[in-house]
């Protein structure tokens, strides 16, 4: 950088020498000192005013503008980021709620099924018990009937056979002998 500047400076010196030579021959208005002080004076005044107004009035305003824009943009970005994370949290919450309700529904379903099955079982057991009871009664009845029936059958058999004999032979035969025979046959049948 500095080398470049030095070279450039040397080149500019050559130019300057040329200009001075040209000025000596043709007259360059730049090297005529007549208005030098006027130019310096007006340069100082205009540049001074420019510097003062720019540095005191205009540049602070521009700087303020830039700062406020920067901060506002940053604020907006922050807000957007916050809202985004908020919405994400909401979404997560929503997902959780859905998951929870699904689990709840499953539980409810299972529970009610269990309850229903229990109920059915209970009712069946109750019914079975009742049926058993009825059966037992009936069986008892049958047993009783069974117990009573041989006697009755014997009696009927005795009566019928005495009637039969009576009709066939026409004489009264001792009932006790018939009873003995019938019970003998009946006991033989039982043993079979």
């Amino acid at each position: 950088m500095f080398k470049k500047i030095i070279f450039e400076t040397l080149a500019v010196y050559f130019l300057l020498i040329n200009f001075i030579q040209a000025a000596e021959s043709g007259g360059m208005p730049q090297l005529d000192p007549e208005f030098w002080f006027s130019q310096i004076f007006w340069l100082v005044i205009t540049f001074g005013i420019l510097y003062l107004v720019l540095s005191k009035l205009i540049l602070p305003k521009i700087s303020d503008n830039l700062e406020t824009r920067k901060s506002q943009v940053l604020d907006n970005l922050e807000l957007a980021e916050k809202q985004r994370s908020d919405s994400e949290a909401k979404l997560k919450e929503f997902d959780n709620i859905i998951l929870k309700s699904k689990i709840d529904a499953k539980n409810l379903f299972n529970e009610s099924r269990k309850k229903l099955l229990n109920d059915i079982n209970n009712k069946r057991q109750k019914l079975e018990k009742e049926i058993d009871k009825e059966l037992k009664i009936v069986e008892a009845d049958i047993e009783e009937l069974k117990k009573k029936s041989p006697d009755k059958i014997n009696k009927i058999a005795v009566e019928t056979s005495s009637d039969l004999i009576n009709q066939l032979i026409g004489g009264n035969i001792n009932n006790s002998s018939i009873t003995a025979i019938v019970s003998d046959i009946a006991s033989k049948n039982k043993n079979l």
Partner: protein
């Protein structure tokens, strides 16, 4: 060379023996200053989040120059921002106004650029001595130079330091003057060659106008950035 002539506008004003009359040069200094102030005043007036065109112009210039300063001279140069901003804008507008036909280019006069450069030189030197005391003289003694070469280097450094205001002012003045002279020469070729042969210098002239606008910006930029570099030497003192 008549385009560089300075002439009095209005009465002759004298303070003692010194002539400070209002001239065409003064007129264009005033016009430049007023233009800059108007543009940036309107640019800074409205405070909308989405900037208007003038506001954008002002804010872009602001951040452009503030970036230039912080890149070349670091954060310590912040207090000199206003000065460098004014300097850049003044030189830029004087150069650009000079591009309009029949106007006067303030910066094509060596005395104007030299006063600006000398002010910068003196200011930077004063800042350097205030910040570093006599330690500022270390600027002329680069580190890592063999002892044998040191006297030579110090002499070269001092010469290059002292030539700063000259190189700074002559660079701007010579560029502006050479550009305008060249335009004038090509323009006179157009006139002398007439409708038959004038087209070639005319097209040159058009191209040169573009180049000159570039040079006008570039020279303002170079002027400002060299000021920043000198300021950097004074503020940070590392070689």
């Amino acid at each position: 060379m008549t385009q560089f002539n300075v002439y009095r506008i209005g009465p002759e004003i004298k303070i003692g023996e010194i002539d400070i009359s209002f001239t065409n040069a003064s007129l264009f200094m005033v016009i430049s200053t007023i233009t800059i102030l108007l543009i940036f005043n309107f640019g800074a007036k409205k405070k909308s989040i989405i900037p208007t065109k003038l506001q954008l112009l002002g804010e872009l210039s602001y951040s452009f120059i503030s970036k230039m300063i912080s890149d070349t001279a670091g954060s310590k140069a912040k207090p000199y921002f206003s000065f460098i901003f004014s300097l850049f804008m003044f030189v830029l507008f004087c150069n650009m106004l000079g591009m309009i036909p029949y106007t006067f280019t303030v910066t094509s006069h060596i005395i104007v650029t030299f006063v600006l450069a000398a002010f910068i030189f003196v200011g930077v030197t004063i800042i350097g001595f205030i910040k570093h005391g006599l330690g500022y003289l270390k600027l002329f003694v680069p580190s890592g130079v063999p002892m044998v070469l040191l006297p030579l280097i110090v002499v070269i450094e001092i010469i290059s330091y002292l030539s700063r205001p000259i190189s700074l002012s002559v660079r701007l003045f010579a560029n502006m003057m050479a550009g305008h002279t060249m335009m004038k020469v090509f323009g006179s070729f157009v006139v002398s060659l007439g409708i038959v042969g004038g087209w070639l210098p005319l097209s040159f002239s058009v191209a040169l106008t573009g180049l000159e606008i570039l040079v006008a910006f570039l020279q303002a930029y170079v002027f400002a950035i060299l000021t920043c570099i000198y300021l950097n030497d004074a503020l940070n003192l590392h070689h």
